[in-house]
């Protein structure tokens, strides 16, 4: 089960090191993008969006179809993000906003119901069988060779755009008027509405933004993963592991944890292929025991 030799060989071989690092990086950046959506929604609205994986799936399928129609991958990524945002805003307005004040179990149930509905809707629209999008035409070019290792240019696009968009949205929440209002409203919705602001619209927009990040992640993953109804579940679980390890509400923590998990996955597949998932959960348990607030999370008061 444990193949220490192979792992050591890989660490000693620049080609393997580069290839596995590139894989670790894209896994990590996808996770970071998904987890920053979870963190944004949790950090501001204090709602755990258990349905986040469904928006990842919606983004992937929307991008798949948009690519089939337009043949333009950049437009398809946009389509994935927009589709997830639209469904996200509807979900927030019609369902989740009604249980903001309810307990966690109620929120979990609403989200789970929504996930099941989405999975079935995908089966009806796209069918239950696996779909593959393939590397988009824009990126069908020879791979880069770095120190003997192979890095597909698409990987760089994926990692770069995921990182950029996640960080941009954090900046938006921190420094824009929209971000300032929505954070104030999360603390004191009544006072913000007394100032003339329609608070529910801002909450819906923030929720939609978080979902758009998941949708974009799905669209970015579509060329390198197979599409299937229910594909959102594993990314949801992994993004929760990322938020727990990184610290609830901490974006730098999520980045650190996402990279950690990405590398655990890529190098784990060389050194301990049967224990990759186990290793991730082990990491989470260790963190929860020794540093419950996560790597970079603030200690919870109260």
């Amino acid at each position: 089960m444990l193949n220490i030799d192979a792992l050591m060989n890989c660490f000693g071989n620049s080609a393997c090191l580069v290839t596995q690092s590139a894989t670790g990086l894209i896994i990590g950046m996808l996770l970071f993008l998904v987890a920053s959506g979870v963190t944004l929604i949790f950090g501001v609205l204090h709602v755990v969006n258990f349905a986040h994986g469904a928006f990842y799936m919606i983004g992937a399928y929307a991008a798949y179809s948009a690519y089939g129609v337009t043949g333009n991958y950049y437009l398809s990524v946009l389509a994935g993000a927009v589709a997830a945002a639209i469904v996200g805003v509807l979900f927030e307005r019609l369902a989740i906003s009604r249980v903001y004040k309810e307990n966690l179990l109620m929120q979990l149930l609403v989200c789970y119901a929504f996930v099941l509905i989405c999975d079935d809707a995908v089966k009806i629209i796209w069918g239950a069988e696996y779909l593959a999008m393939g590397i988009p035409s824009e990126f069908r070019v020879p791979p880069l060779r770095i120190a003997g290792g192979v890095v597909p240019p698409f990987y760089l696009f994926l990692a770069g755009s995921a990182l950029a968009v996640a960080i941009l949205s954090v900046i938006l929440i921190r420094y824009s008027r929209f971000g300032k209002i929505v954070r104030a409203a999360a603390e004191n919705a009544t006072m913000v509405s007394v100032l003339g602001i329609r608070v529910p619209l801002y909450f819906a927009a923030l929720f939609g933004l978080g979902c758009a990040l998941a949708g974009m992640a799905g669209a970015l993953a579509a060329p390198v993963r197979s599409l299937t109804p229910g594909m959102g579940l594993s990314i949801l679980i992994e993004s929760f592991i990322v938020t727990v390890i990184g610290g609830m509400g901490s974006i730098p923590g999520a980045l650190l944890a996402a990279i950690l998990l990405g590398f655990t996955r890529s190098f784990g597949s060389v050194g301990f292929p049967l224990f990759v998932d186990g290793a991730m959960f082990l990491m989470m348990v260790v963190i929860l025991v020794f540093r419950p607030q996560g790597l970079l999370g603030e200690r919870m008061v109260r």
């Binding site: 300032k180 954070r183 104030a184 004191n188 009544t190 509405s193 007394v194 100032l195 602001i197 329609r198």
Partner: protein, 239 residues
């Protein structure tokens, strides 16, 4: 002199918190460009009245008219866009936002696009706040927070301002500063309602007075007449 125009009319309103009845058939008018003192002891219902006007607390019966229009059930943001501003009793500043951001969040044009108050002239009118622009509002003293709360209300360019106990628990120097600001505001023609337990703060700055006790009106008239009305002041007001 022409008869003054009521900007705001409360017509036999009743309000509840859950099952407890708080405001009983309350009626009074607020006149354009004048200042009304809404007086009453602890728990008399002053804050509830202001919250009912703003749409924060629902009324169960009666009618609230603003500029002649029935506004029962209107949400707070709608009332804000009708030109009403509330400075709540516990200030309710955003503690984790800077002073600047507290003000920016509240920035909106008044009715018919009036934009008398901007960030710059707010800091001119509130010189105490100017050096604290970048500080988190939660780090400020109670008096400074009260000033910020008033400044934030003005950023929305309201025509009718509801001030809930602006002098409560503050040092005399800040109370004086707040009195000066209210006088200055009156000069700009806005209508003001000030809730206070103590009549004296309101004496030089308001024309009209309403006294409430246990959610019912016990006096309506000018503040000068109230001042001479020993029976009402000793029975219903804090000394």
């Amino acid at each position: 002199m022409s008869t003054p125009q009521p900007v705001l009319e409360l017509d036999r309103i009743n309000a509840f918190y859950g099952a407890s009845h708080i405001l009983f058939d309350m009626s009074f008018q607020v006149y354009k460009g004048r200042t009304l003192a809404l007086l009453g002891r602890n728990g008399a219902g002053k804050s509830t009245t202001m919250k009912a006007i703003m749409g924060v607390v629902p009324i169960r019966s009666g009618e609230i008219r603003h500029e002649g229009r029935r506004v029962n059930g209107a949400a707070p943001h709608v009332m804000a866009h009708r030109g009403i501003g509330l400075v709540p009793e516990d200030r309710q500043i955003f503690p984790r936002h800077t002073v600047d951001d507290n003000l920016r969040i509240a920035a909106k044009p008044g009715l018919s696009g009036r934009a008398d108050w901007t960030l710059d002239n707010i800091y001119d009118a509130f010189p105490i706040l100017a050096p604290m622009r970048g500080r988190n509002a939660g780090m400020m003293s109670g008096g400074e927070q009260q000033l910020l709360s008033m400044a934030r209300c003005l950023m929305g360019n309201p025509d009718l301002i509801l001030l809930d106990e602006p002098s409560e628990g503050l040092a005399p120097i800040i109370v004086q500063e707040i009195g000066r600001l209210i006088r200055k505001l009156r000069g700009t023609g806005v209508t003001i309602v000030i809730a206070e337990q103590n009549m004296h703060f309101c004496l030089g700055i308001s024309e009209d007075a309403v006294v409430i006790d246990k959610g019912q009106i016990v006096y309506r008239g000018t503040i000068e007449d109230l001042r001479g009305n020993e029976e009402i002041t000793s029975r219903y007001l804090a000394i």
